[in-house]
């Protein structure tokens, strides 16, 4: 089971599921887009394309924030406004070059986004949209009332951009600048999503079965990743504002109000807010549709109503009810998840922890206590566990086993007591810092990212053994480390017997197999202590035997294992010691034989024997 097969080493690349249109598709699309200004198309088309590119740049950020992370911002138009006004002020009042104006806008945006993010992102998800609504409305009135920014009349005479002396004053020249920005944003986002940080970003969307507990247990800070996504989205919007200001050459506050923010959200949802290319589809579709509707609806209904607003609203509601994936999901359904080769040379290259001697104390649980309101879920539970030892935690339903697990791993905070792991007091530490010390776990309710491939899910486990950040992902200097992480993920999947499903979506596996994937993910973190919550549930007999074999082998490798398990044959055959819990208290502790013979344990499971 633990044999490592040989496979040819090849270069591989891999992108977020559903965003792949194949290399030929990319080149064809890029070629057509770059060709348009050279063709005798009317100036109107060029203008439209310029605005579509600028809008798409903003919407790509929303895709990252809303579609990937499940957060949203109603303040994107305000960040566009910051980018536009910063460069307008810098170039017309301070006489800086437009490129310095871009830098100023990005800097201001970063500061504001970090403040807004720090204030809201520790709290539940609806605080960011509320804060950004407020920020967008507030900025609008400030822009409209500051003399230095021309009040509601705005600023004029913004210079055109030039690159190494070549002026981009004409729309056809500016077109290239816009689309280079948009293209870089799109490919940069795709690269980010296919990286160590990107995989974490893809785990936190509650709409796709995500949340904070799992990535935190992998050692990642969810708060920092949310902040990263919000920051990137804001910076892209700011860059779009810069492009907008130098295209229009004159700006006023009206395109930066809350209504415009809602428009960007509309583009994202309609195009497909889960897909980077959906941003482009949404921006193009919305721009074209708005022109059509503004031309035709007044002719049909007469009068001066904003009829297109009504149509847009209805489309938005319909899109979310009928096709939540947006227009792009109709296209992406035709592309399969790309397979790639695992490089054998990358195996065993990630750093490993030094393991303690067998029998050395690894975990010491000292009188832990957890109170939920009036309910004491866990009361004064103590036990310890050494390296190379398997301890089973058993007890009837509701005995507090999973709560004990969550207390040890830091997913819940202790009410009283202390947990010492690997010689350090970890009671009260967040689960990510405990995870970094070498504690890995699985969950009673499986926490995989259903839309991500099995191997990517397992690669999440390598998070704390790797260190490339988002910049490395953009520059692709993380590739060697990524190959190593995937090789490690494949090794663990092979070990657990899942080598045939590497590229399937995790959500398509049976529940038993999903539990095994969780074990592989926990092993990919190279833990000292493994906490397994009902690993054998949903497995067939043969699979259980194979799993028992793997766990026994881990014991030989001097890992500590703590199992919560209901399958008595499984746990009694495997564990060195058993801790029995009932009503939140420890009932008894001892070898399987002692526990099986105990009348108290029998009473706990079966009720008192009539004698």
């Amino acid at each position: 089971m633990a044999q490592i097969g040989e496979s040819p080493s090849k270069r591989w690349s891999q992108l977020a599921v559903g965003d792949r249109i194949g290399n030929r598709g990319y080149w064809a699309a890029a070629f057509v887009i770059l060709l348009i200004p050279l063709l005798p198309v009317p100036e109107l088309v060029i203008t439209q394309m310029n605005y579509i590119g600028i809008d798409a740049l903003v919407v790509v950020g929303l895709v990252l924030l809303t579609g990937i992370c499940g957060l949203t911002s109603f303040g994107q138009a305000a960040f566009v406004g910051i980018g536009a006004y910063a460069t307008a002020y810098a170039t017309t009042v301070l006489n800086w070059s437009p490129w310095a104006g871009l830098g100023l806008g990005l800097l201001l945006t970063a500061v504001i986004a970090l403040i807004l993010g720090m204030v809201t992102l520790r709290m539940s998800g609806h605080n960011l949209p509320l804060a950004t609504i407020a920020w967008c409305v507030a900025l609008y009135y400030v822009l409209g009332n500051v003399d230095a920014l021309g009040r509601y009349d705005g600023m004029v005479n913004i210079p055109s951009v030039s690159i190494v002396g070549l002026s981009l004053q004409s729309g056809r020249h500016y077109y290239y600048l816009v689309w280079i920005f948009a293209g870089l944003a799109a490919f940069g986002t795709l690269r980010l999503l296919d990286s160590r940080s990107g995989r974490i970003l893809r785990t936190i969307n509650p709409d796709h079965g995500g949340g904070a507990t799992m990535p935190e247990a992998m050692g990642a800070s969810v708060f920092r990743h949310k902040l990263l996504a919000f920051l990137i989205a804001a910076l892209l919007a700011s860059a779009a504002g810069w492009l907008f200001a130098h295209l229009q050459r004159t700006i006023n506050p009206s395109p930066f109000g809350i209504g415009r923010s809602l428009d960007y959200l509309f583009m994202g949802v309609l195009g497909g807010v889960g897909y980077v290319w959906g941003a482009f589809v949404g921006a193009a579709f919305t721009t074209v549709l708005r022109d059509l509707l503004q031309d035709w609806l007044p002719k049909i209904f007469g009068g001066s109503g904003n009829y297109e607003t009504i149509v847009f609203g209805l489309l938005l509601i319909a899109a979310l009810k009928i096709s939540p994936g947006g227009l792009w999901s109709w296209v992406s359904g035709h592309f399969e998840a790309k397979r790639f080769e695992i490089e054998s040379s990358a195996r065993d290259a990630l750093p490993r922890r030094s393991k303690p001697q067998a029998g050395e104390q690894l975990l010491d649980v000292q009188g832990i206590h957890k109170q939920f309101g009036g309910l004491a879920a866990v009361q004064n539970v103590s036990f310890s566990l050494g390296a190379g030892e398997i301890v089973g935690l058993i007890g009837p339903n509701g005995a507090g086993k999973s709560t004990t697990f969550n207390l040890i791993s830091g997913a819940l905070s202790l009410s009283e007591g202390e947990v010492v792991f690997s010689g350090k007091k970890v009671g009260g530490s967040p689960s990510r810092s405990i995870a970094r010390l070498g504690l890995s776990r699985t969950f009673q309710h499986v926490k995989l990212v259903p839309d991500m491939s099995v191997i990517e899910n397992v690669a999440l486990g390598c998070y704390q053994r790797t260190e490339s950040g988002p910049i490395a992902a953009l520059l692709r200097t993380d590739r060697l480390e990524e190959r190593r992480a995937f090789a490690e993920a494949e090794r663990q999947l092979r070990r657990i017997g899942l080598q045939d499903v590497l590229f399937q979506k995790a959500g398509n596996l049976s529940l038993g197999a999903q539990r095994l994937v969780e074990i592989a993910r926990a092993l990919a973190a190279d833990p000292l202590l493994l906490l397994l919550d009902e690993p054998a549930a949903g497995l067939r007999d043969g699979e259980k035997a194979a799993l028992a074999q793997v766990l026994a082998q881990l014991r030989q490798e001097r890992l500590g294992l703590l199992l919560v398990e209901h399958d008595m044959n499984f746990v009694m055959g495997l564990a060195d010691r058993i801790v029995v819990m009932e009503f939140g208290r420890k009932l008894i502790e001892g070898t399987p034989a002692v526990v099986q013979a105990s009348p108290a344990v029998r009473a706990a499971y079966l009720g008192l024997e009539a004698s």
Partner: protein, 345 residues
């Protein structure tokens, strides 16, 4: 700033704050029961105000048409769903008539009574009655089938609802502004501070409504059912409470509260078809004070928003809205420091 100015500003702030409190409570109620961040709440304010304004110039209010449009759409949806699910004709007819009876009666009464020139108070009641059924109709049309969707999806859907309602508002009311006559024209002088009857009416009406809501939630079955659904939807369903019914009730209350606020402010503020959004957002700011969770908190937040606004406008009337909305950031910082826990959804 002397004492008189300060007390005038304070009175103004409390009066406005009372209105924001009404909206904030509607927002908190809808969010607790349905998880919908209903950013279109302000549109009900406009509809209430517009109905009264048009009624008081003895015109048939355009909200009659709006209610008609919503009703027709809801009936069509009911028919479509009924046909798809092969409901028996009798049950389908019954559910459609149950849906249509109240709106049709309200429309009929309005139609008949406009030429009779009823007194202003009667017109205000008619306006409330016209807007009230829009809440449940919107819930049925838009949110009922999305009961399991995430907060984020429901929020974006609400953006769509806002687009549609504002768009329809422009078509129905046109771009011009409206005002209504005041209910009480007199004004008293208390310790040198002029106190208008309208201000007193606003504060009394708000207090009465808060009392009414308290009574509803504490002593009535419908109200307790709402609370139950808000606390634990699954548990409420298991004991036989209908989450849909609770959703419809909460939206009806939101519509009534919104329309009432509109009726109360329309004599002192000119209302345009798109005025509601900003007013509703101020209700949201107040609700954020309370973490969208507590009614007394929302009340306190709303009074604070009203005071910030009135004192802010004394300092710089052009920037008063900026000041009100910028206040959200320190509030969230305070909440994040003292209540901030990364929570699992």
């Amino acid at each position: 700033m002397d004492f008189t100015v300060a007390s005038m500003l304070a009175l103004d702030g409390v009066t406005n704050g009372a209105l924001y409190a009404l909206l904030a409570m509607a927002i908190v109620l809808v969010f607790a029961v349905t998880r919908v961040l209903f950013i279109a709440q302000g549109e009900f304010v406009v509809f209430g105000a517009m109905s009264l304004a048009q009624l008081s110039s003895d015109k048939l209010p355009s909200t009659v048409w709006l209610l008609g449009v919503l009703l027709v759409a809801a009936i069509l949806q009911e028919l479509l769903v009924g046909i798809r699910e092969r409901k028996p004709n009798r049950r389908l007819a019954l559910s459609i008539s149950r849906l249509a009876v109240v709106p049709l009666i309200v429309i009929a009464i309005t139609w008949v009574s406009v030429p009779l020139r009823p007194p202003l108070e009667m017109k205000a009641l008619l306006s409330l009655a016209l807007v009230a059924p829009m809440g449940p109709l919107l819930y049925r049309l838009v949110y009922r089938s999305l009961a399991t969707a995430s907060v984020l999806t429901l929020l974006i859907v609400s953006v769509g609802v806002h687009f549609v309602l504002v768009g329809l508002g422009l078509v129905l009311f046109g771009p011009e502004g409206y005002r209504t006559p005041a209910f009480i024209d007199t004004s008293w002088d208390i310790a040198g501070v002029p106190v208008s009857g309208q201000a007193i009416l606003v504060i009394v009406a708000t207090s009465a409504l808060i009392g009414g809501l308290f009574w509803l939630f504490t002593f009535t079955f419908r109200g307790m059912a709402l609370r139950a659904v808000a606390i634990n939807e699954l548990g409420a369903r298991i004991v036989g409470l209908s989450a849909q019914r609770a959703g419809e009730t909460s939206f009806m209350l939101a519509a009534v509260i919104g329309a009432l606020s509109g009726i109360l402010i329309a004599s002192s503020t000119t209302i345009y078809y798109d005025t509601g959004f900003l007013i509703g957002l101020k209700g949201f700011v107040a609700a954020v004070f309370a973490g969208l969770a507590s009614f007394p908190g929302a009340l306190a937040g709303a009074i604070a928003v009203g005071l910030i606004e009135s004192f802010g406008s004394f300092w710089s009337s052009a920037l008063k809205d900026s000041i009100v909305f910028a206040a959200v950031i320190p509030i969230l910082l305070w909440r994040s420091v003292f209540f901030g826990v990364a929570e699992e959804h």
